[in-house]
């Protein structure tokens, strides 16, 4: 279901410096898929465009959605001031999400970098229904020892950490963590900054395994109408008939070998 609605903030807390964790009560939780996202709107009428934020988690009875976001500018700074009980304008649920079936019975890497870590949580949960917990290898990268969501992730798989400053786990990035721990997998699912996604695309091509990556682009409509958020594709896209797919509707998750990043 796609709907714009005024939902209610169930709770909000600061998870790490500049990183916020908000639970939103909404019936959109009912059919939310891992890797899908919400567009969140500001109350400030000078900042009109939606802020796309990934769904981090869905609660047990599917009545609330969790988002974890970094203060990056005006919009996210406003969201961080919201208290429990206050309204929040959201449009959702958007995008295709990760297809967990491709990992049925397989060994998986779930790779998240920085603010790309949050969507890995609901994904890890969902994967537990299709493959054994020891097959779920969650490789996450952070700047420093602010390893937000680590405890949540540990419930659903084996967690490996990389930090840029070396304060926790492997010093370096997620690729270094794979190497240091001599890990291997049959399929990759990832979200994070572009250099990380490019490295994963290269790794997956060498290892000849599929990688599903979640992409970001500036958005206006979030629903596929404006053609603002495209990514170059190898094949002509079925909708556009040119080598461009819409990240908001055809993605945000793409098989790495199909996109030119």
């Amino acid at each position: 279901m796609k709907q714009k609605q005024t939902a209610v903030v169930a709770s909000q807390r600061e998870l790490a410096p500049m990183i916020y964790d908000m639970w939103i009560e909404s019936d959109l939780a009912k059919d939310a898929l891992p890797g899908q996202f919400l567009c969140v709107y500001t109350r400030n009428k000078s900042t009109l465009l939606p802020r796309p934020i990934s769904i981090c988690e869905v609660n047990e009875d599917k009545s609330a959605l969790r988002i974890v976001y970094r203060i990056a500018g005006q919009g996210t700074a406003e969201f961080a001031t919201y208290k429990a009980g206050e309204p929040v304008e959201i449009l959702g649920t958007l995008g295709n999400g990760f297809n967990v079936e491709v990992a049925a019975g397989k060994k998986v890497f779930l790779m998240g970098g920085g603010i790309g870590v949050p969507p890995m949580l609901q994904l890890a949960k969902a994967l537990n229904a299709v493959t054994a917990k020891e097959n779920i290898q969650i490789v996450v990268g952070y700047r420093d020892n602010q390893t937000f969501l680590r405890e949540d992730l540990e419930k659903y798989g084996q967690v490996y950490i990389a930090t840029e400053d070396g304060s926790v786990g492997t010093k370096g990035n997620v690729m270094n963590a794979i190497e240091e721990n001599a890990l291997q997998a049959d399929v990759i699912m990832a979200c994070g900054p572009m250099p990380m996604l490019r490295a994963i695309k290269g790794y997956a091509e060498n290892a000849d395994i599929p990688a599903y990556i979640s992409l970001e682009e500036h958005m206006a409509c979030g629903v596929g109408a404006c053609l603002g958020c495209v990514v170059k594709t190898k094949e002509k896209d079925h909708h556009s008939h040119v080598n461009n797919a819409r990240i908001c509707t055809d993605g945000p998750v793409f098989e790495a070998k199909e996109v030119d990043i």
Binding site: L48, L91, E217, A220, C221, V223, L227, C229, S240
Partner: protein, 302 residues
Amino acid sequence: MNMQTTIAGVTFKNPVMTASGTFGSGMEYGEFVDLNQLGAVVTKGVANVPWPGNPTPRVAEVYGGMLNAIGLQNPGIDVFMDRDIPFLKQYDTKIIVNVCGKSVEDYVEVVEKLGDEPAVSMLEINVSCPNVTEGAIAFGQKADALYNITEEIKKHAKQPIIMKLSPNVTDITEMAKAAEAAGADALSLINTITGMKIDIHRRKFAIANKTGGMSGPAIKPVAVRMVYQAAHAVQIPIIGMGGIANAEDAIEFILAGASAVSIGAMNFVNPYTTIEVVKGIEDYMKRYNVENLTDLTGAVDV
């Protein structure tokens, strides 16, 4: 109470339309609004062949609005006629197809193909997109070039044509008059206003194309002024747009001289804007005992 409006012999159930490029061909927003309730769906610009559009970022937020440089990405007229027209035909709304091109021949080719499709009520000719380097805008910024392309398209068009004017000109009335003199059946304005945004932290342009077209509530006063000026310069009907967010905004355009209005960027902010505007205009007519919507057109200060 009668909300109908007639433009070049085509009667619309109400004056609320979608602005080209902000509503696709209605499929995406059809999940949010009942397309049957709209006066018309104006589709995304379509060319004779598929266009890939510009590199990303293609959109950026600015105070009270946005910039875009999509670059008229479109699947080409053949796919459009096979897929988008049959989709829209299912609804009880008028179809207006926005046409773009790089040369007069490009436009004529599209216009001729659409001539075979009676479900298309009108053609809107985009000679004002600021985001493509060749063609397009050049036709929309010089009165003689606008005259020539309008006259040429008019020779080949089976449906009435709406010339969509650029606000990026010194005197909008000169352009409006040139289009009218060349045989345009109606005008629509405004297209986006060329703008620029710089990300000071990265020292980069916010839009890959460097410049983008500005739209949204911040441009509304400019648009209302231009609609008013154009309405006083020509006899042909005008479809007004630029920053319409609600019924009050729409009524401003109508009072300034518009026979119909289009909703653009605000669809992105509130996907229900179009139907809320229809309802709001109805409420306004009730409140002020307006029998016919057409009585409001140009009714400022009379």
